[in-house]
C-alpha cells in the first residue's frame, strides 16, 4: 500500500492529540471501571467456536487469544506462566497419574445464566479431547481415567481445545470474562463485560476488536483505536509520536518449514545448504529493525538457555559445498502470507541469499484465508508461536507444528535441557525446519489504556485492562444499599 505523506501526518497528529489529552487526565494507581476498549488485529479469525480451533493454522494463536476472552478452561496460566485454578478450584491425582479429579468452582454460570455443572463440563470436554481419554462426572468434579500414567494432563488442559462451553445447536456459550455481543467472522468482534464473572467483572464495559486489518492500516488508525499491532519498521515513528509502545520478549519464531510432499525434503542437503546461506543478522537488523534476534534454534535463548549453541552465522563456503553434492537442484517454491509485507520481504531476502549458494527459490505469496491443502509449496515461511513460557511445553508444541505426529509415535522426551537440545538438533538436521529469527509482539497503546501487560509468552489480559477516564463512576444496580 502506498501511503501519502498527508495520511502519515494525519495519523501522527491524532497520536499527539491522544498524548496531549493524556497529560490532563488524572493519574491513579487503582483501576477504574467503564469505557470501551478498541483493538485492531491483523489476524483473520474465522470462528468463535472452540470446536473449530486447531493448533498450527496461521491464525491459531490469535484465535485462541479471542476464545480465551469468552471461554474458560479448568485450569489457566497465571501472569508468570504457572498453572493456576480456573473453573476447577482444585485437583488431585493418584500416585500413578492414571486417575485425576478436578473439583469445580461453585456458583459459576454460563453467559445465558445456566449454572456450570460437572455434567456440562464433561460434555464440552468430550467434544474436544482425544477419544481415548475417559472422562466422567464425579459429584461436582470431573474425573479423568487413563490406562497409562498421564502426568502431563495439567499441561494439556491449560492449552489447546480444552475450553468449557455449553452448546445449543450452533451456538456455543462460555463462562469467560466477556460475552459476545457481535460477531462477524474475519471482520469484527464486539464483547461486553460479564458482570458475574467468577474472577471479577472486567474493568472495561465493552471491547471492540477489528480483524484482518493490515499493520499499515492499524498505524493509520492509531488516533481512533486504543491498541494496535505494530510492524517493526513503524516502531520508531510511533515512539517519536509519544504513544506507548509495548514489546514482549521474543515469543515467535520466523521459520521455513519443509512441506511433507515438497521437493526440499527429498534431499536434506539442499535444505542444509539453504540454511547455511541465509544471513539472519541482516534479516533482523534491516527487515526487523533490530526488533528480534537471529534464530538457528526453535526456542529463544531466554527460554532454552542453550540457543547460543546453534550457530546463526552464514557459511557460504559450506553451503556451496553441500549444494555441489546434489546433482540437480530443483527450483524451490517458497510460499508466504501475501497479506504480510514483512513476510514478503523476508522471503525475498531468503531467495537472494539462496541464489548466492546456487539454489533457486521462487517466493510466492498466498492468500491469508487458508485453504489447507491447496497451495503446492516446497517450503513455507511461517511464524511459529511459543504457547507457554515453559521450555518443555513450548518445544513440544513447536515440534508438533513442524512435523505433525498425530499420535503415530511417542513424542521425544523433552524433560531435561539436554533432551530438548537433542530434539531441536534432530529437527534441524532432518531439514524439516530452518529457523530464521525470533521476534516479539509489538503494540502501540493509547496512553489512556492502563495495566496493559504482556505476559512473558505474549498475549493479552483484557479483563485487567482499564481506561483512565475522568468521569466519576456510577455504582452498579443492586449495590446493597
Amino acid at each position: 500500500m502506498k501511503v501519502t505523506r498527508l495520511r502519515f501526518l494525519a495519523a501522527a497528529s491524532c497520536l499527539l492529540a491522544v498524548v496531549a489529552g493524556a497529560a490532563y487526565s488524572h493519574a491513579a494507581t487503582r483501576p477504574r471501571y467503564g469505557g470501551t476498549l478498541r483493538v485492531e488485529m491483523r489476524a483473520y479469525v474465522n470462528s468463535m467456536d472452540p470446536r473449530d480451533w486447531y493448533l498450527g493454522t496461521p491464525d491459531s494463536a490469535s484465535s485462541e487469544r479471542l476464545l480465551m476472552l469468552v471461554f474458560d478452561r479448568l485450569v489457566e496460566l497465571d501472569s508468570d506462566g504457572r498453572i493456576a485454578p480456573a473453573l476447577a478450584i482444585g485437583w488431585q491425582h493418584d500416585a500413578n497419574f492414571t486417575h485425576w479429579q478436578f473439583l469445580l468452582r461453585d456458583d459459576v454460570k454460563f453467559h445465558d445464566g445456566t449454572p456450570l455443572t460437572a455434567s456440562s463440563a464433561v460434555s464440552a470436554l468430550q467434544a474436544e479431547i482425544p477419544e481415548r481419554w475417559h472422562i466422567a462426572v464425579a459429584d461436582h468434579a470431573v474425573a479423568f481415567n487413563f490406562a497409562e500414567p498421564h502426568p502431563q494432563l495439567l499441561n494439556e488442559l491449560v492449552a489447546g481445545r480444552s475450553f468449557i462451553f455449553r452448546a445449543t445447536g450452533d451456538t456455543v456459550i462460555g463462562t469467560g470474562p466477556f460475552r459476545i455481543a457481535e460477531w462477524r467472522a474475519q471482520q469484527r468482534l464486539v464483547l461486553t463485560a460479564s458482570d458475574d464473572y467468577w474472577a471479577g467483572r472486567p474493568y472495561v464495559d465493552r471491547v471492540e476488536i477489528g480483524l484482518g486489518i493490515a499493520l499499515q492500516q492499524q498505524y493509520l488508525d492509531l488516533g481512533k483505536t486504543d491498541v494496535a499491532e505494530l510492524a517493526p519498521n513503524l516502531l520508531r515513528r510511533v515512539e517519536e509520536s509519544g504513544a506507548h509502545v509495548s514489546v514482549s520478549p521474543p515469543v515467535e519464531v520466523w521459520a521455513l518449514i519443509s512441506q511433507p510432499d515438497g521437493r526440499a525434503v527429498a534431499d536434506s542437503r539442499v535444505v542444509q545448504a539453504l540454511s547455511l546461506s541465509i544471513d539472519r543478522t541482516s534479516i533482523v537488523n534491516v527487515l526487523l529493525q533490530r526488533q528480534g534476534e537471529p534464530a538457528s534454534s526453535l526456542l529463544p535463548q531466554w527460554l532454552s538457555g542453550y540457543a547460543f549453541a546453534f550457530s546463526t552465522g552464514p557459511d557460504l563456503t559450506r553451503a556451496k559445498q553441500l549444494r555441489s553434492q546434489v546433482s540437480s537442484s530443483p527450483v524451490l517454491t517458497l510460499v508466504y502470507d501475501a497479506a504480510d509485507a514483512l513476510a514478503m520481504q523476508i522471503a525475498q531476502r531468503v531467495a537472494v541469499n539462496a541464489r548466492d549458494a546456487g539454489i533457486t527459490i521462487t517466493a510466492t505469496g498466498e492468500s491469508r484465508i487458508v485453504d489447507r491443502g491447496a497451495p503446492k509449496a516446497d517450503l513455507r515461511l511461517m511464524r511459529l508461536r511459543l504457547v507457554r513460557p515453559d521450555a518443555e511445553q513450548a518445544l513440544g508444541a513447536l515440534l508438533e507444528q513442524v512435523e505433525p505426529n498425530n499420535g503415530a509415535t511417542p513424542p521425544a522426551a523433552l524433560h531435561s535441557p539436554q533432551e530438548r537440545y537433542a530434539a531441536e538438533q534432530a529437527a534441524i538436521e532432518s531439514a524439516r525446519v530452518i529457523p530464521l529469527a525470533f521476534v516479539p509482539e509489538l503494540y502501540a497503546v493509547n496512553p489512556v489504556v492502563k495495566d496493559w501487560r504482556i505476559p512473558r509468552w505474549g498475549g493479552w489480559d483484557l479483563a485487567s485492562v482499564w481506561l483512565d477516564q475522568p468521569e466519576v463512576p456510577v455504582a452498579p444496580k443492586g449495590n446493597g444499599r
Binding site: T29, P31, R82, A84, D196, G200, L303, G305, K450, P476
Partner: protein
C-alpha cells in the same frame, strides 16, 4: 548479601490446592552453592566424553548476572575435578581440543553448558541446577521509611498480620481471595499450618480489598461484604457472616470513626450518609482508600478519590481543606515519633503494570510536604494497611519481576 532460592512449582495436590495452591511461601537461604556442584558434575561428564591424554583448553563465559566470586568458585571446582581425572589444562589449543563452557539460564534453572567437537561434529553437554537469584545489597536507605520484607507468595494477597510479636517466632495470618491461612516459620521458609475457606456468595472485584486483624488469640477477617471471626487455636472453626451491606468502618485519629460502603464487585467506596454532614455525603467523591491523621492536634481524613485527586477533609468531613495531585490511589497513615507524630504514606501515580514507590508526607496545616525520599519497589503497591498497635504499616507489592506478592512492614525512622 541476600540470596534466595526460587523453588520450581511442584504438581499441586488436593490438600494444597483448594485455597492455597500457590501458597508456596518462599524465602529460603540456599545451602551449598548448587552452581558449583553442577560445574563439578559437568566436568565429570566431560571427563567421560574427552580424551584425558590430550591437552585441553577451556574457555569460560557467564551469560547470567551471577557474582564474579561465585562464578570463579565454580570454575575452580570444575578445573579441579578435571585435573583429578588426569586432564592437563592448557591456555590455548586447536579447535578440536577446545571446549567453551557457558554459564546460562532458562526461566526455571541455571545451566552449565559445554560446547565441543566430537568426531568433528559440534556437541554439547548440559547440566542444570537450581537457580540462585542474587538480591540487591540491603544498605540502610538514607530516608525516613524503613521496610522489612516478611514473606512472599505467588497468589494474590490482601493482608497479613503477626499473630503475636512481630518476629518469625510468631505465626502469620494471611488473607487472600480464597480465605485465611496460618503460616509458621520453619527455617528456612514459611510453611502452611492451617487454612480455612472464606466462601463468597458473589464474585469479587478484580481489585478486591480485604483486612485481617489479630488481638489476644482471636482474629477478624473481611473481604468485601463477608466478615469472619476466629481464633488461631482453631482457625477451621472460623465463623463468617455475609452482611446485607458492604459497610466498612474507618477509625479516626481522635477515636471517632466514619463508615463507607464498598461498592459491590467494584473497588471503590462511597461515603455513607452517616459520615459527617449527611447532606455532604453525596457530594463527596467516592474513594479508593481513606487514612486518618491527627496532625497538630487536628483530626483529618485523607481520601484518594476515584477521579485521581486526593482530598484532605477535617474531622467533620465538610468541604475539602486541600486537594493533592500526583499521588497514587493507595495510601495509609502512620503514627510515629517523627515531626508532629503523623505522616501519610502515599504511593506514586501509575498503574499496576509499572514499578511503584512509597513516600512519607507531613501536613503543614495547608498542604502536604514530602518528609523524605521515596522508597522504590519492583512492582505496584497494591495494599497499604495502617496498624495502630504496632505503629507500622503493612504493604503488599506485586513484584513484576517474578510475579509474586510480597508482604512488607514499613516504619518511619526519623533519620536517627
Amino acid at each position: 548479601m541476600n540470596r534466595r532460592c526460587f523453588a520450581s512449582l511442584r504438581p499441586l495436590v488436593f490438600a494444597g490446592l483448594l485455597l492455597f495452591s500457590s501458597l508456596a511461601v518462599i524465602p529460603a537461604a540456599c545451602g551449598e552453592a548448587a552452581m558449583t556442584g553442577a560445574a563439578r558434575q559437568l566436568a565429570q561428564k566431560l571427563a567421560a566424553d574427552l580424551n584425558a591424554k590430550q591437552p585441553w583448553h577451556f574457555e569460560f563465559r557467564d551469560l547470567t548476572d551471577s557474582s564474579v566470586a561465585d562464578f570463579s568458585e565454580a570454575r575452580q571446582a570444575f578445573e579441579a575435578e578435571l585435573t583429578s581425572h588426569g586432564f592437563h589444562l592448557v591456555p590455548s589449543a586447536p579447535a578440536e581440543n577446545s571446549v567453551r563452557v557457558t554459564l546460562s539460564k532458562d526461566p526455571q534453572e541455571g545451566l552449565w553448558i559445554a560446547e565441543f567437537l566430537r568426531d568433528g561434529k559440534a556437541d554439547v553437554e548440559i547440566v542444570p541446577f537450581t537457580l540462585i537469584a542474587m538480591g540487591a545489597a540491603t544498605l540502610p536507605p538514607p530516608i525516613s521509611i524503613q521496610r522489612q520484607f516478611v514473606f512472599e507468595q505467588p497468589s494474590p494477597l490482601f493482608d497479613f498480620v503477626w499473630a503475636g510479636p512481630p518476629d518469625s517466632n510468631s505465626p502469620l495470618l494471611v488473607l487472600g481471595p480464597a480465605g485465611v491461612s496460618l503460616l509458621r516459620y520453619n527455617k528456612p521458609q514459611w510453611q502452611l499450618q492451617a487454612s480455612v475457606s472464606l466462601s463468597q456468595q458473589r464474585a469479587l472485584s478484580r481489585d478486591a480489598q480485604g483486612q485481617v486483624r489479630f488481638s489476644g488469640g482471636a482474629f477478624e477477617a473481611r473481604i468485601a461484604d463477608v466478615f469472619c471471626t476466629g481464633t488461631i487455636a482453631n482457625i477451621a472453626a472460623m465463623q463468617c457472616n455475609a452482611g446485607p451491606q458492604n459497610v466498612w468502618r474507618f477509625s479516626g485519629a481522635d477515636g471517632a470513626s466514619v463508615t463507607a460502603i464498598l461498592t459491590r464487585a467494584r473497588n471503590w467506596f462511597e461515603w455513607s450518609a452517616t459520615a459527617g454532614a449527611a447532606s455532604d455525603a453525596s457530594r463527596r467523591v467516592p474513594f479508593f482508600s481513606l487514612a486518618a491523621l491527627g496532625a497538630g492536634g487536628q483530626s483529618l481524613w485523607v481520601a484518594s478519590g476515584v477521579d485521581g485527586k486526593t482530598r484532605v477533609y477535617s474531622g467533620a468531613l465538610t468541604d475539602p481543606l486541600a486537594t493533592v495531585a500526583g499521588w497514587g490511589s493507595t495510601l495509609a497513615s502512620i503514627h510515629s515519633s517523627c515531626g508532629d507524630g503523623w505522616q501519610i504514606l502515599a504511593t506514586r501515580s501509575g498503574d499496576y503494570a509499572t514499578p511503584d514507590a512509597v513516600q512519607a508526607f507531613e501536613w503543614s496545616g495547608k498542604e502536604f510536604r514530602a518528609a523524605g525520599a521515596a522508597i522504590e519497589f519492583d512492582g505496584p503497591v497494591v495494599v497499604l494497611q495502617s496498624d495502630a498497635d504496632s505503629g507500622e504499616t503493612r504493604a503488599v507489592i506485586h513484584n513484576l519481576k517474578n510475579g509474586n506478592y510480597e508482604g512488607y512492614t514499613l516504619k518511619v525512622s526519623c533519620g536517627r
